[in-house]
Symmetry: C2
Subunit: 642 residues, 2 copies
């Protein structure tokens, strides 16, 4: 047995799927000689005693496949078992001999022995009687050879015998596992918002109760995850001022990522946001609208964090006795103390950090966006996520690690359910195609779930700075249709906030990270209606609720990218065509037809463009599109059934 | 640590190399945070106690590489070890701070502690003194900060400290192994010949002494392996007659693969071939000419084989008490009894079979061509080959398995040093390119060594039947230049024997398998001179002595295939251009230049065509060739150094 799939790194890590998925488990299964084989997938949920089995069928060339339906969230364990089946082999040989009239009494004697063996593996009953009766018939010479051979090939007898195969010398593969996550791990629509900016007056610190007022707006656009930057008390020492000024004014609120103050740390709530009861009210109000709250967990401390006094051993001490602040030489970040995951006291530290998650799970939160996990200990994440999901398998962890590829993929292997990606910096056709192919067509897709963000509080890409409204629409369509998980940092996104702090940089001017902002969400120029439309299309189309099923289609214009998404059962097919130029109208011939997505050839075929609601009949494999970014930079065609 | 290479099936099987190779061991090595890492390859020969180490260098993006030179044949074991190097990290950080004048006393205090740690890992001596002196300097405030920081970046101090890294919490990968074979496993030129056909008169059974007379001819053509079909006694019962007739005439010699008679079995010699002393003389005479003898080992028995009487338990008994003959329903092969590898007496059987190899190794043979290993037990081969090579690491096993790909590749993984391939049936450009790419560019190349045969006693391909002399030349050039291991079945090959037994079949008429033939090797139409020339080119060109280093080049004619071979060090580059049509002249533009093989751009560049000995100056990336199959169906260009 070779190449069992889906597996990750020789089984070192589990593959990932969502509940309800049916996984086609595959393996190469072969042996010497010409005997026939049988194989099955044996599986169980972790903690169960019994294995269930799923028969595998041969696909040809020694490839076998058996379906494994993942009925519950949690961890499934599986392996492949295969054996040389002497009964199947004998039936196959007998069939070939009968075709040329060369069967013999010896052949039937061999078969009788096999049936008796099968009978010995049954309990008393009809099956056993049928097998023993047949065996007796084969060994007698009363009936003619031809008739006995015919009986031997009776499908009902064969089916009965095949229920009791001789698996005494079967071979088992190594064991593998699959993490089965909630549906929302594979299909989620995120809205990031600073709750302190939800009050309607300038520079007044918003509260959770104000944030509740924003929920109908968010739910109305079709988002199902509300992600809040850290909600904890913010340190005073070395607090950053507006636009990351080294010194804060008295009324500057500081960065939410400088966590911890006299009021508490990672399990506390910033007093200006409200109380624990207010937070629970927000979580409930969101839930009532189909929205799950996601919290930002950043394992670092401001100098005022209680742990600095209570647990100095959890930090790195320099030889002069001072605590090591964050550094990326020669840069210094004196408002942040990194945690020392390798301290001698690591066991108590790790428990406390894990308990941060446990605390917020008890408060009703099961989705966590983790800040810069690549600068925290990898073994810690492997352990912590496994511990949390063992008790709370519905927990979802989003990794915010913008770093080298091996590390980003490694964190996903270690347990992160979703991951930020390089999407924000992939704006041209070739790089989008290349990157998306890597994400969806390689083995990466078995453990790494991309979450595409056109903007974040840290990243205002040049494309959005320069491109105006069309750029925002283009990047939204790309994110929302290329990836089943995507998010925007709002309201700056829908309000098309596009001013950087300095030319050539990616920081927002007057960044909400360092001050309270007021957002006029009712601004008529808002993209909210467009976002609503796109999210509604996602909700109606299974093809967009998974990241696989993606295929790129040739166009004859490098500014026009075309790709299709197809649902698992092939029934839902969308063709998305996007003009990547935010400035100029472009047209192109796009190569697309039912054949291109594995359907059978039917030309002409009908498509409906979902944004304009117009239908077209396409005659051939090449079809013409023309997209004006200022009017409609993208089209989404649904392939109509024949 | 991920993706350690070269490994096969997660380390389940060893990779293969030849002695003298330097393997670039690679791995992805990464950790969290920003600290610098160091990594090394630790290796030893199986049976040694101590590991040696080879430093790995970072290639970028967390890929690391370290050379492992394979000095002896046998098995090497290796793993990767890596650690976070706090000293390297500190030096790197200090360097950056010094560049902007932001170093501090605390930085040097940290460095002093690191150097003291390194000193504790030294023995008394100059290194320790240097480290401790430097540490003392860093901690004193006598000298100015800038000066002390400068000392800390002294390359000689750094080199000294780096000799004593702190590896106390290093991580080790799993262990892997490499089978290091003799050079001839990777580069060999085979000549298959029936010794019974080496007498100069018709139908007189040749002997080993007659075969010795043939050796100068074979060595003269440049072959270094002489492969003999089974040399054992041949059974009389059910003996096949000429052209596989079901009944033999009294003077038919039978098939050498129907092994065993009253005279003995697999460790005996057919009495008509000679004595054991004659055989040893042949082996020695071959060795004197640089040729190794290879024997055909076919683990099956004629009904007259001694084992049938002495060990009936080694065969399958049918219910009527008769021994099961070979079958592939509905076909029956009554002259062959297959061995039952799964008999209860398998232990004694397997030992006896292994001892067949041991016997012939004692007679001076270390190369074995194994007949149809896929119809024998896979676990037997894994065990047997490992046992033999543990004592005789120079042994080479060639797998003759024409079956499904997984089984062919699986046998290579299980230990076969070389393998027959699908080459004989790949005659068109696209299929040659596709197959050779699979063999050389995928991970298959780490464990499967192709041996290309344009013809065998079982396979006279239609291409040779139809194509006359040009076809033989074409197939020879392809085999001899695409694969570093190739062989021909002679003299039928060089004498261009091309008549099939029946139209549409691949059997030779009057096949040497069933009768003694006489070959007129001095026939002036023989291809022997051409074969000599091709083998001489192989001997002079390292590029042809490995199967890797192959690249296909575009031509604008589907009848003309072009490919380059490059030696490991890049110094020897050959471009081979072949007209695949044995009938018509074809011409084409061929895309080739030094840049195409990774050299730097130098146009014009000179090439020498080795068969015509003519030199050319090529101006550009596209160059014109014209090949008349009746005159010169192929060209071999050597890229001249600048």
């Amino acid at each position: 047995m070779e190449n069992v799939r889906p597996t990750v790194d020789c089984g070192k890590y589990p593959a990932k799927r969502v509940v309800g998925d049916t996984v086609p488990v595959r393996a190469a299964v072969y042996s010497d000689g010409h005997d026939l084989l049988r194989a099955c997938v044996r599986f169980r949920q972790r903690g169960q005693k019994q294995y269930r089995e799923s028969q595998m069928r041969p696909l040809g060339n020694d490839e076998w496949e058996g379906p494994l339906t993942l009925e519950r969230i949690g961890t499934y364990e599986f392996h492949v078992e295969a054996w040389v089946d002497h009964y199947d082999t004998w039936v196959d040989g007998l069939r070939k001999k009968v075709e040329v009239d060369s069967e013999s009494d010896v052949d039937l004697a061999i078969g009788a022995a096999l049936l008796k063996g099968a009978a010995a593996r049954t309990k008393e009953g009809a099956d056993r009687d049928r097998l023993l009766t047949a065996a007796e018939l084969f060994e007698s010479t009363a009936a003619p050879l031809q008739e006995r051979a015919g009986r031997a090939l009776d499908p009902r007898l064969i089916a009965t015998a095949r229920r009791y195969p001789d698996r005494s010398v079967a071979t088992r593969s190594a064991g593998f596992s699959i993490t089965v996550d909630p549906v929302r791990a594979g299909y989620s629509t995120w809205y990031e918002m600073f709750p302190r900016s939800t009050y309607r007056a300038d520079r007044v610190h918003g509260t959770f109760l104000d944030a509740i007022e924003r929920l109908d707006y968010i739910a109305g656009m079709g988002f199902d995850v509300l992600y809040l930057p850290p909600i904890h008390p913010i340190g005073l020492s070395f607090r950053k001022g507006r636009d990351n000024a080294l010194v804060a004014d008295a009324d500057d609120p500081g960065s939410p990522w400088a966590i911890g103050g006299p009021e508490g740390g990672h399990t506390s709530i910033h007093p200006d946001l409200g109380t624990a009861a207010d937070f629970r009210a927000l979580v409930k109000a969101a839930s009532d609208r189909g929205i799950q709250v996601a919290l930002d967990i950043a394992f670092q401390c401001s100098p005022d964090h209680p742990w600095v006094q209570e647990h100095p051993e959890w930090f790195v001490r320099r030889p002069d006795g001072s605590i090591q602040y964050a550094e990326n030489p020669p840069k210094k970040y004196q408002d942040i103390y990194p945690i020392n995951f390798e301290t001698d006291a690591w066991e108590s530290l790790w428990q406390e950090l894990k308990n941060v998650f446990v605390h917020w799970i008890a408060e009703g939160v099961t989705i966590f966006r983790v800040d810069n996990p690549h600068t925290k200990s990898f073994p810690f994440w492997s352990w912590c996520i496994a511990e949390i999901k063992a008790k709370h398998p519905q927990a979802i962890f989003l990794s915010e690690a913008f770093t080298r590829p091996h590390r980003m993929y490694g964190l996903a292997k270690m347990g992160f359910s979703q991951s930020y990606t390089y999407f924000t910096w992939r704006t041209e056709k070739a790089e989008l195609e290349s990157y998306l192919t890597e994400l969806t067509a390689s083995d990466v897709a078995d453990y790494y779930r991309p979450n595409f963000w056109p903007n974040t509080p840290d990243i205002l890409h040049e494309y959005l700075q320069e491109g105006g409204r069309p750029a925002f629409m283009i990047r939204l369509v790309l994110a929302a249709t290329l990836s089943s998980n995507y998010g925007i940092y709002g309201p700056p996104f829908e309000l098309q906030e596009a001013t950087p702090r300095e030319p050539g940089g990616e920081e927002y001017l007057d960044s909400e990270k360092y001050e309270v902002r007021r957002w006029e969400t009712s601004d008529p120029r808002s993209l909210a209606p467009f976002i609503t439309e796109i999210n509604a299309i996602r909700a109606r189309h299974p093809a967009l609720q998974r990241t696989r099923g993606l295929r790129f289609h040739t166009t004859d214009n490098e500014h026009i990218i075309a790709y299709s998404k197809m649902s698992e059962d092939g029934g839902d097919v969308l063709l998305i065509v996007v003009n990547l130029s935010y400035e100029h109208t472009h047209s192109a011939w796009v190569e697309f037809s039912p054949v291109a997505v594995g359907h059978h050839d039917s030309r002409p075929f009908r498509v409906t463009e979902l944004l304009s609601r117009r239908s077209y009949t396409w005659e051939d494999y090449w079809n013409f599109v023309k997209l004006d970014p200022h009017h409609r930079p993208a089209q989404i065609f649904r392939l109509e059934p024949e």
